[in-house]
Symmetry: C2
C-alpha cells in the first residue's frame, strides 16, 4: 500500500531518510530534523512531497520528490529519494513507489522524471534500466554550499 | 547588469535557451515554445525563475533555476541553465549570474546550489572548481520519459 505522507509522518520520514543516508554512506551529511520536514513538506507551498509504502501495516519504504523544469522539455518530477528497507526488498515495493510517482507526474502533465543513482548501487541501476530509464553519463553532478556559497554571493562583477 | 526575466522576455528566453541547446548539442531535444515559458514561468506559482544578463544594453546570457529539497540538508536552488553568449564571454558574466543566484539562495535561507555540467565543458568545470564547487562523480544522472514513463505509471504491484 502506497500513501502520501502526512504531517504525522514527519518523525517516521526522518527515520527512513536516515536509514537511506546510512545505506548511501552519507549519514554524516544528514542533518535534517523532524521539525524541518514538518515545516517544509506541508502547508500551502510545500518544498517537497513524500509517499510512504506499507507492507502488512509496517512502513517498508518511501519516496521524496518535487517539481523540476526542463528548459528543453518542460515540467517534470525530480525524485530526490527512493528507499526500501532491507527486510522488504524483492517484493516490488521500489517499482510500486516509482510507479506511484510516475502516475502523479502524468496527472500533473509532467512528461519526465529525473533522479540520480550511486554508481555502485547495481541493483538500483538494473531496475532503472529495466524500466527504460536513460543514463545521462556525460553529465557531472555539481554541488556548491556553505562557505563557497556565501563567498560566491559576495562576488561583485 | 543582471535582472529578473519578466513575461515580456519569454521570446528572448526561448532564443537564449535554444542557443544553449545548440551549444550542448541537444537542439533536437529542445521543443519548448514561447507560450510554454510564458505559462510556466510567471503567475502565482511559477515552475522556474530566470535572470537575464545584459552588457551594453544587449542580452548577453541567462540563468534558469528553481527550488529543490535535499532530505539530508534542506532546501536549495537547482540551477537548470547557465549560459553566456559567445561574444560576451571572458567578461565575468557567468560568475555574475552565478553570484546573483547564490544571493537569491541565501535570501531564501537555502544553503546550497546544485546543477549539472557536461563532462567536455572544461571551461565551465574550471570555473565551478575555482568557486569551490564539489563534483559528485559517484552519482549518475537518470532520466525516464515518454513511453517509458507511461508504461511505468501503468505498472501495478
Amino acid at each position: 500500500m502506497i500513501r502520501p505522507a502526512n504531517l504525522a509522518d514527519a518523525a517516521l520520514l526522518r527515520t527512513l531518510i536516515r536509514e537511506l543516508a546510512e545505506f548511501e554512506r552519507e549519514l554524516d551529511l544528514c542533518v535534517i530534523e523532524e521539525a524541518d520536514l514538518a515545516r517544509d513538506g506541508y502547508g500551502s507551498n510545500p518544498k517537497f512531497r513524500a509517499l510512504i509504502a506499507e507492507w502488512d501495516g509496517q512502513p517498508a519504504g518511501y519516496a521524496v520528490f518535487f517539481g523540476y523544469y526542463s528548459t528543453w522539455a518542460g515540467p517534470g518530477l525530480y525524485l530526490e529519494d527512493l528507499f526500501v528497507r532491507l527486510p522488504f526488498r524483492g517484493k516490488g515495493i521500489g517499482t510500486a513507489l516509482l510507479a506511484a510517482v510516475a502516475q502523479i507526474a502524468l496527472q500533473e502533465d509532467r512528461r519526465a522524471m529525473r533522479w540520480e543513482v550511486l554508481d555502485w548501487n547495481q541493483g538500483a541501476i538494473d531496475l532503472y534500466k529495466s524500466l527504460g530509464a536513460e543514463f545521462r553519463d556525460q553529465w557531472r553532478s555539481v554541488l556548491l554550499k556553505d562557505d563557497a556559497l556565501r563567498q560566491l554571493a559576495e562576488k561583485t562583477v
